[in-house]
């Protein structure tokens, strides 16, 4: 049972890393980014290419940095102009980006499933409650918790964090205080996509690499964002842990219903609270 709970936390942690990027981007740009799963996938492939040369940790750093740059470019070239359009336009454009990125990856790395190695430092297992548990999975939990704590402290106790929280609620009022929200968005979208890259690299050894690897986890991430409440970081954290457990226990005890359980939970929560756990927007 303990091992099942830990596995649920591992998946929940990955979902959080991805969902928090969606929350950041939606908060400032009001863009529902369907390309986020593709950014997760690209991050994984970049990390994989460098890890395959024997530099796993460098792969992680390069991937995070490269995805941050991709995020800044996306914000400046696409998201900053999308905010003037209907949500349906943003959905179509980001979906188009998803298709382009999947095609690029297929051309560069091929369609075949690839296996991402575990770094030697984190290979092996530890005994938890008498059962072996991979060290690498504990590392995934540690990364997720570290990101959640750092992000929470940064948003809560720094000036930039205050401005981001303000702009996520009302960009116009925030701008009228003298804050350049476009510049702030560049940081936020860069951070959000960097976290997608981090999530992709960290998830790599747990999942097989393929051009469509981001699609399933993106759907679960959207469920996390909706359940947690649009724009809520704390809500996303709680929802990610919850969906992680449901995903894992569903797969073990109710395999015939595992795929629909997160959707059922989402419908139930939206009926109970249309803004999600901690959101203020519907």
């Amino acid at each position: 049972m303990l091992i099942q709970i830990l596995n649920g936390i591992v998946y929940g942690g990955l979902l959080y890393l991805l969902a928090v990027g969606l929350v950041l981007i939606f908060g400032l740009r009001e863009v529902v980014n369907f390309a986020h799963g593709a950014l997760f996938m690209i991050g994984a492939y970049i990390g994989f290419s460098i890890a395959a040369m024997g530099y796993w940790w460098s792969g992680l750093l390069v991937s995070v940095f490269a995805m941050a740059l991709v995020g800044c470019a996306l914000d400046a070239a696409v998201f900053s102009t999308l905010r003037k359009h209907d949500h349906i336009v943003t959905v179509l454009v980001t979906f188009g980006i998803l298709l382009i990125l999947e095609t690029v990856v297929t051309k560069v790395w091929g369609k075949a499933y690839l296996t991402y190695p575990v770094p030697p430092l984190l290979a092996g297992t530890v005994s938890i409650g008498g059962s072996p548990f991979p060290i690498y999975r504990l590392f995934v939990i540690a990364v997720s918790v570290a990101v959640a704590v750092s992000l929470s402290l940064w948003l809560r106790y720094t000036r930039t964090g205050l401005y981001i929280r303000a702009a996520s609620t009302d960009a116009r009022v925030t701008s009228m205080q003298g804050i350049n929200v476009d510049r702030l968005s560049l940081i936020v979208v860069g951070l959000g996509t960097a976290l997608a890259g981090l999530s992709g690299v960290v998830a790599g050894p747990l999942l097989s690499l393929s051009p469509t690897m981001g699609n399933y986890i993106l759907i679960d991430s959207f469920i996390v964002v909706v359940i947690g409440g649009l724009g809520s970081f704390a809500g996303a954290f709680i929802a990610a842990l919850l969906i992680g457990q449901i995903h894992n226990f569903g797969a073990v005890y109710l395999p015939w219903a595992a795929t629909v359980l997160p959707f059922m939970l989402m419908v139930g929560i939206l009926i109970w609270r249309p803004t999600g756990f901690a959101g203020s927007r519907t």
Binding site: L162, S168, V173, M176
Partner: protein, 231 residues
């Protein structure tokens, strides 16, 4: 040189023309009222200053310098703080965080968190509460306090008396006069005749998106001002 000047400004929402050649100015330490009925374009003046509405013709000057690319942050970065209609309190931030947001431009001056909290002690008392947990009058104090935190040279208030009890409007009038006497320019966008008459030295009447009348309030009675607005 004026702190803020609109020179023959024609402003558009999309293709709809809202301002049809508005001209007015506010000097340092001056208290000016921009008055008019609902829908004549008063709030569009603020929106134009914040880059929400596009300028089709004419220009806006801040301290004599023509600002071509008006953005949401332009006014604040040039020492103009705006208390917007509806107050613009951010509900997910505490009272103190809402105030600290006002310091984003980093302008130095006499106003600090402590001084604003001395002026409005309720904001110190309720500093950890969410901004929207305050009453209407307290939210107005918060909005003005946040604007003062920016140490502005000019304070623009858009319909600040809206939804306030008469006793709170009296306090607001006294405060705005005091701020003006301390050297902060005031641009009061209002239709509350009593408040305008107690605060402003000069007035501009907006009608159909243009200035229809202007002058000194010393020479105009409340009834006359009311008639000007009604035209």
């Amino acid at each position: 040189m004026s702190l803020l000047a609109f020179n023959d400004v024609h402003a558009l929402y999309g293709r709809a023309r809202i301002l049809n050649g508005v001209t007015f100015d506010v000097d340092a330490g001056e208290r000016v009222a921009l008055v008019g009925r609902n829908g004549v374009g008063k709030t569009t003046v603020v929106n134009t200053l914040c880059g929400v509405t596009r300028i089709g013709q004419g220009h806006v000057e801040i301290r004599g310098r023509t600002i071509k690319d008006l953005r949401g942050y332009t006014a604040a970065q040039n020492g103009i703080a705006i208390v917007m209609q509806g107050r613009g309190i951010l509900p997910n931030l505490t009272v103190e965080e809402n105030l600290l947001l006002g310091t984003a431009t980093g302008r130095k001056g006499p106003w600090s968190l402590e001084k604003v909290q001395d002026l409005f002690p309720i904001l110190r008392e309720r500093r950890a509460n969410p901004g929207l947990a305050l009453s209407g009058g307290q939210q107005q104090m918060l909005a003005i306090g946040r604007a003062l935190m920016a140490n502005p040279d000019l304070l623009i208030l858009d319909e600040p008396s809206e939804g306030l009890a008469p006793v709170v409007v009296d306090e607001l009038a006294a405060l705005l006069v005091r701020l003006g006497e301390d050297g902060i320019g005031i641009l009061l966008i209002e239709q509350n005749i009593s408040l305008i008459h107690r605060v402003a030295q000069r007035f501009y009447v907006l009608s159909k998106g243009a200035v229809a009348e202007s002058g000194s309030l010393q020479n105009v009675t409340r009834d006359e001002l009311e008639r000007h607005i009604a035209i």
